[in-house]
Symmetry: C2
Subunit: 224 residues, 2 copies
DNA sequence: GGTCTTTCTTACACCATCTGTAAGTATTAT
DNA sequence: ATAATACTTACAGATGGTGTAAGAAAGACC
């Protein structure tokens, strides 16, 4: 069954939540240390996180933003802070739902259920602005159209998106793509960048890959 | 920009919602006739629907269920009915969010924005129970694993899922897959069914394709 | 139980696509 | 102007997907 992680410092409420989910046959765990919760959360590879805002150390807002940039499981914010601006901030940071305490367990369960169902359809999706990439199939989605890239082009785009908005060194691309093997033609990267540009051009994405002469490539920042 | 459809019988509120969304550069339209709203909604191919519950004719609940079975855009329920059981019912029928009137426009906009962002990542996804298929790439997801099918196998699975839980006639499969072309070996369907079964077996999905001797195939109904 | 029909399984060869190599052209920096 | 870097196009080998073929297994019917 799905794995849920609870990030909540009130031990009483945390245990209550754990019990609520455990009853429904979820595999559920609570975070107890708030010194460096980030890695603990990522390492547990949850299917969903229930996140409080008022935490010792990093706030739930910061945590939400940090997690959303590095993972693709849904985050449900559950907090006593019930102002509209809190909700707008949370949703703006990528939170998937926002519920206020006290929250009826059935409502929480229903919301969690819905998120799991929605996200169950999307595994291994990364996103930069409006650009979406499925890293299993290398399907690229932008606005209302899509292309399916061959493996090499897809891997290049994946690296560019993961490093966005930083520059990606040519050497990094070489070692990621052809690292283990023996010598390959220096030109191979340019050829594949060229192919990738042509593929993306069919979506109307001209010039989103910038060349930084002598160093490497990077994704152009574009309006969202 | 994204296209939103408003299904709300109170003309006053409807116009207010239309204005709210229009300001944010959404392409927005309202339903005015409630005799047969279903087809009008589908035909407009919206990216999201805002749906009231208390409607003349079919209720919003029925409409939600009907639409969810035939389309894949998100549905946000916006209603004056604020009981928990209404919310649970709506979410259970597949609604993606549930807000009660009166609702602050900013909250509504933020929720809509979030849904559009989430759904923007998932184009052309169909689902039967826990089984998910991307009909562009033929990536099949089940529980925590996935396979990418070759085109022919993927098309067969797509048809079986679209017709589920009905039986699919062998002739239908033949005409869908090899319809236009000249003669093909009768055996080709059996070979590809066999290949598809083996591919799905790598997910632990043994025997989900039933053979109906003399007629065709169908997807086994399994526990969700 | 025997026989006929239908379905399943495995192997093989053709074909399309992807990939790296090569060679030549264009662009940029100094 | 010249050299260095980046781009473009064409080509051939490798890979994986597809239909054909032939025989084995399973089910229906008497």
């Amino acid at each position: 069954m799905s794995k849920i992680i609870i990030i909540e410092d009130d031990i009483y409420l945390r245990e209550e939540l754990v019990t609520t989910f455990a009853k429904k046959e979820y595999s559920v765990s609570g975070i107890s240390s708030f010194v460096t919760p980030e890695q603990e959360i990522l390492d547990s590879e949850p299917d969903l996180a229930v996140l409080d805002i008022n935490l010792p150390g990093k706030s739930g807002f910061e945590l939400c933003k940090w997690l959303k940039a590095r993972s693709d499981f849904p985050i449900l914010i559950l907090t006593a802070r019930d102002t509209l601006s809190d909700e707008l901030l949370a949703l703006g940071l990528g939170a998937d739902d926002f519920l206020t305490k006290p929250c009826h367990p059935e409502r929480l369960l229903a919301r969690v259920e819905r998120l799991l169902q929605t996200y169950g359809k999307m595994r291994n999706i990364i996103q930069v602005g409006e650009l979406t990439l499925d890293t299993d199939t290398y399907k690229v989605i932008w606005r209302n159209s899509h292309v399916i890239l061959p493996e090499t082009e897809g891997k290049i785009l994946q690296i560019l998106m993961e490093q966005h908005p930083s520059l990606v060194d040519k050497q990094d691309l070489f070692s990621s793509l052809w690292g283990g093997s023996e010598y390959v033609d220096e030109n191979i990267l340019q050829v594949n960048i060229n192919r990738l540009r042509k593929s993306l051009d069919t979506l109307g994405l001209r010039d989103i890959i910038q060349t930084i002469r002598g160093q490497g490539y990077r994704l152009e920042v574009f309006r969202t």
